[in-house]
Symmetry: C2
Subunit: 287 residues, 2 copies
């Protein structure tokens, strides 16, 4: 199968062997190489606009809200006062858009390595790039590793919104990355990192959790449904530097807050349910 | 895109426009026409064996347990004493396999319209066809509609394990079908029906729920993750003829029961979490 053929984009990758999602394409809006990766933006026929990095779907207009709301609100609401937030990655702006909504968030620093992704989003993906307009946000183009080495003990919440563990994001799944996260957090801080899917890479998910456990006392795994990601589901490591269980929200999002913040996916019940795992996953991750 | 090309099977269908899952194929084991539909069985490269009816994936060895356990245990555990069970459809045997495991189930009647599906499963899908060996099971080849017209007031639980609402299953999503289900149930009975995905057919899901609401006082919707179904998720209508909330399990499956019954997906916490819906779904289905 080729990447684009007969008007369909196909996402073939050895990270999920033998399965492949295809999306029907109306127009190729951008196709360029950055210093780090291939950047492709498509106008699809039924899923709105799509951002694709190194051949892997990062987000589509159709379902990105599930991912962006969950990777943001899970850690934000697991913290009683998430005043200062760091986003590593998230170059499309979607996570910044969500963090801006939380009433207790005062300042968001975002460190994205690839300015071309930010540019592509600003030009073609305004539904996510609106996050860059937040008056709470300071956006820096640079290396998240380096940034955290120079900023210790500063953040209540750190969200790692990365691509998969090949290409520029490979270091964001290592033990030394979790050590850095721990160091950049304030006391009682909470982190959340994208961490693949249990359906095709359960061993890899477990390995990353074990790296995280070396530096955090409470490490949990949560999932959400994203149809255009491999297997239609993605998971997050949510870990706390203190003793509080991140599966229990400290800031409750009920019906009024859902309306106020315009949340399409996340609410307080969704928070807790996201941490409930099927037996075959529980067994591997928690036994 | 063609159905099988260059060693990949592709599932194109207007029910989920503009998106298509492909599975890599090792061997075509069966490809025949029954009186009702095209029956295809594939040996895939990474997802075990797959059953495909009229070009739509019904189950793969890789992930069928999520679907079969959930469509069975959600209604069985929502009932305090599910002694007599009716399965409409389920020709692969997977639901019979799961119903057999529940200690309070005494007798299961299954009515499947297409004997060729049962034959295909017996020959090529032993991991599901083992359900047909259950000593609790009476298997009948015939029309579920007709069967229920002739069997009133007989079942504690009725599970409709159908294909999608095109082809032979189209009648299983109508209001008159829910009337028949209600009639065949005993007092306090519970039903569960496959009901598509909220990601591509939320209006259709809502319509079917509304049909069901005309005959059942308590109607709920639950979801589970099945990577090889469109959007990676499928939903179920779970409705009760009495007043009890089917989202609250009456028979609790804890760690001991999980071990005993060999459940890979379902447990008591998964039961309740399956009914927790994101805001965009809640709004349409429950407002």
């Amino acid at each position: 199968m080729d990447q684009i053929r007969n008007g369909w984009f196909s996402e073939i990758n050895e990270l999920w062997p033998g399965q492949c999602l295809s999306l029907q394409v109306e127009e190729v809006l951008l196709n360029e190489k950055s210093d780090f990766q291939d950047v492709l933006v498509l106008q699809t026929k039924h899923h709105g606009r799509a951002l694709i990095l190194d051949g892997i779907i990062q987000c589509t207009e159709h379902d990105e809200f599930s991912y962006q709301e969950m990777i943001s609100f899970l850690p934000l609401c697991a913290h009683p006062a998430p005043s200062r937030v760091l986003i590593v990655g998230g170059g499309d702006g979607g996570v910044a858009r969500e963090c801006h909504k939380h009433p207790l968030v005062e300042h968001v620093v975002q460190v994205e390595i690839d300015s071309k992704v930010v540019d592509a989003s600003r030009r073609f993906l305004p539904f996510m790039a609106q996050g860059f307009d937040s008056d709470k946000l300071t956006l820096t183009i640079g290396d998240g590793f380096k940034y955290m080495e120079e900023h210790k003990n500063e953040f209540d919440v750190i969200i790692t919104d990365s691509s998969d563990p090949i290409g520029p994001a490979v270091n964001l799944f290592t033990e030394s990355y979790f050590r850095l996260l721990k160091g950049a957090l304030k006391r009682g801080g909470v982190i959340c990192s994208q961490n693949g899917t249990v359906w095709t890479e359960l061993d890899k998910v477990k390995e990353t959790l074990d790296h995280c456990r070396k530096h955090f006392p409470v490490v949990k795994y949560a999932v959400t449904s994203v149809p255009t990601y491999p297997s239609g589901q993605i998971g997050f490591i949510v870990a706390a530097a203190g003793k509080a269980d991140p599966a229990v929200p400290k800031f409750r999002v009920g019906e009024a807050e859902v309306e106020e913040m315009g949340l399409r996916y996340y609410n307080g019940e969704v928070h807790s349910a996201a941490f409930v795992l099927p037996n075959f996953v529980k067994k591997v991750l928690y036994d």
